[in-house]
Subunit: 334 residues, 2 copies
DNA sequence: CTGAAAGCGCTTACAG
DNA sequence: CTGAAAGCGCTTACAG
């Protein structure tokens, strides 16, 4: 197979042109050993001129490190995960690492398995994993954590001995409950993502500290699910004056459903979400929500992973604070 | 540095346990040479049991291929690019390649340079590049295209001898112009992204086929810019009944600005965008827009890049069709 | 159907 | 301050 672009230079080539050994070239580039200044300058000039970049595979084979991390998210086209990715990438870049972002297509086992193999094949030094299904790790993930460093982002898996970086989900539920209670609401409903996720269970649990018998409808994380779950509540004749949606997409779906049924928001029904995705302030009415700092989540996850790689000690888990963002979708109970 | 996780198995280990040579193990895994069925079965069982995954660097050093592609986008947290990434990843995965998605932080030269080095260090086999600044390629990019395959996505750079995958931007402008003309509008304004981008120039050019003296305000691609450019037009006392925004974020900003100035949409002013991002149908009023097939753009770009890698022949550029999506933000001229 | 050996491009002890 | 050489884990001609 003929490649149309020119050949790559090797360290051998640089050494030959500079009239030194590859050892000296290597040390000049790494700075791990003193090199005569004039020699070093000559080598660097040649490197610059030819545009030489050391082959990563050669380097990796000896050093054992690729200086690339992987981030697996359920769906990269969702801005929520995009924002985590952005924070993670920013921090990885700052520390001289590349970040490989990949979708698992909502935790498709085959796709996950492929990405886990990147760690196992040493193509990446570690993995940031964002699950979307449940808290019970699959066999592949369980095996993986024995072979390389994995940090869980946005979810916890109690049975897996790895650190996680999550928001204070219990507190998010509490804040939502307190907010609706303060507005005089008494019979809210809750619409949430998959029941198998600890984040959902905790948000519900926190919310029930204010409304201990609130009915919960579990579904998935998208707008359609929010619409459908709300429609179910209406169809069942449940009498509610407010909705706690466990994320903003669900909340947007709830708002659309309520409007389609002639309910005005917040005059007749209040809706509060969780996340504060970009969309939250762009919809009408603006969505009251509990903000998660998703960029920070990505950033902290990278910090944990790199500290682990560099010290050899497994870092502790992190819980990030959340805060109420009041907009127009919640109001005093009618 | 002590790693807390166990050692990795090598092909040597598998060979020793199976009582064969590494040659036989290698051929069993690659299928490039016949192996006695019983021997192959025994080897595969051991591979399975120990969870052996061949080291990617060892493989790459001989084969020259990493089977990883890179996609550089200005900002991964924007759903527009997330959607391109999703399409690209889907196709890469289908053909057995991994995809490394990275933000260039709006074409920050240092960040770009880092990602270009991934190609030059042979860590990835090729690059999909989405520029955000202008059509004049930097020195790094110019050098890169001589060293590895690069496919431009969403933008063209006429001075660079590489294939591109773009939407029919001229046609997008034409459709927008025809739509507004059909509704009786006569004096529209145009708000667009950077003037240095061919996509913007073409959209404006297409639009001017209906309104040859339309005033154009150039800015950047975000909601704030759309707001500001529209405010500028109002402040300058320009009398317009419609706005052609060269992307949906600009359109959303325009809508917000017009509302803040007491204009109702579409009764007083019509607004039409380009892209059809998720947000377009979620805002109120729903945004009339020219849809680009962003997932397809990513998919086709990967197809081009892999065909190039596998045949050695540079593929031709692709122009994808666009279509009008009518929602509520455009109406008959007052 | 199988194996010994060369070699991909680096890094790094070892020796000077 | 410098270099020859071993070796990282694979793949693949070469030889049987």
């Amino acid at each position: 197979m003929d490649r149309s672009w020119g050949r790559q230079w090797t360290m051998q080539d640089i050494a030959r042109v500079a009239g030194v050994s590859v050892t000296t070239v290597s040390h000049t580039l790494s700075g791990k050993r003193a090199v005569r200044p004039e020699t070093a300058a000559r080598i660097m000039r040649i490197v610059e001129e030819l545009g030489y970049v050391p082959d990563s595979a050669g380097r990796r084979l000896k050093s054992g490190r690729s200086r690339i991390l992987a981030l697996a998210v359920p769906d990269i086209s969702q801005s929520y995960f995009g924002s985590i990715a952005r924070g993670a990438e920013e921090e990885a870049d700052r520390r001289g690492y590349g970040l490989l972002v990949s979708s698992t297509a909502d935790s498709d086992p085959r796709r996950e398995s492929r990405y886990f193999s990147l760690v196992r094949a040493r193509a990446v030094d570690g993995l940031l994993y964002t699950g979307s299904r449940d808290m019970i790790p699959g066999q592949d993930l369980t095996r993986l954590v024995n072979e390389g460093p994995v940090v869980l982002v946005d979810e916890q898996m109690p049975t897996l001995p790895v650190p996680s970086v999550v928001s204070d989900n219990l507190r998010a539920g509490q804040i939502a409950g307190e907010h609706l209670a303060a507005l005089g609401h008494t019979r809210p409903i809750v619409i949430a993502g998959p029941q198998g996720l600890k984040s959902q269970v905790e948000r519900v649990q926190g919310f029930r500290q204010s409304f201990n018998n609130a009915i919960v409808f579990y579904g998935s994380f998208d707008i359609e699910s929010g619409y459908r779950l709300t429609a179910d509540a209406l169809a069942n004749g449940i009498d509610f004056t407010s909705v706690f949606a466990a994320n903003d997409s669900l909340a947007v779906g709830a708002v659309r459903c309520l409007r389609d049924h002639g309910k005005s928001i917040p005059a007749e029904v209040s809706v509060i979400g969780v996340d504060d995705i970009e969309l939250a302030e762009l919809v009408t009415p603006g969505l009251t929500t509990i903000r998660q700092n998703t960029e920070e989540m990505g950033k902290v996850a990278v910090t944990s992973l790199l500290d682990w790689l560099e010290t050899g000690e497994m870092p502790t888990s992190t819980v990030l604070p959340v805060e109420l963002v009041e907009r127009e979708s919640t109001g005093v109970c009618r």
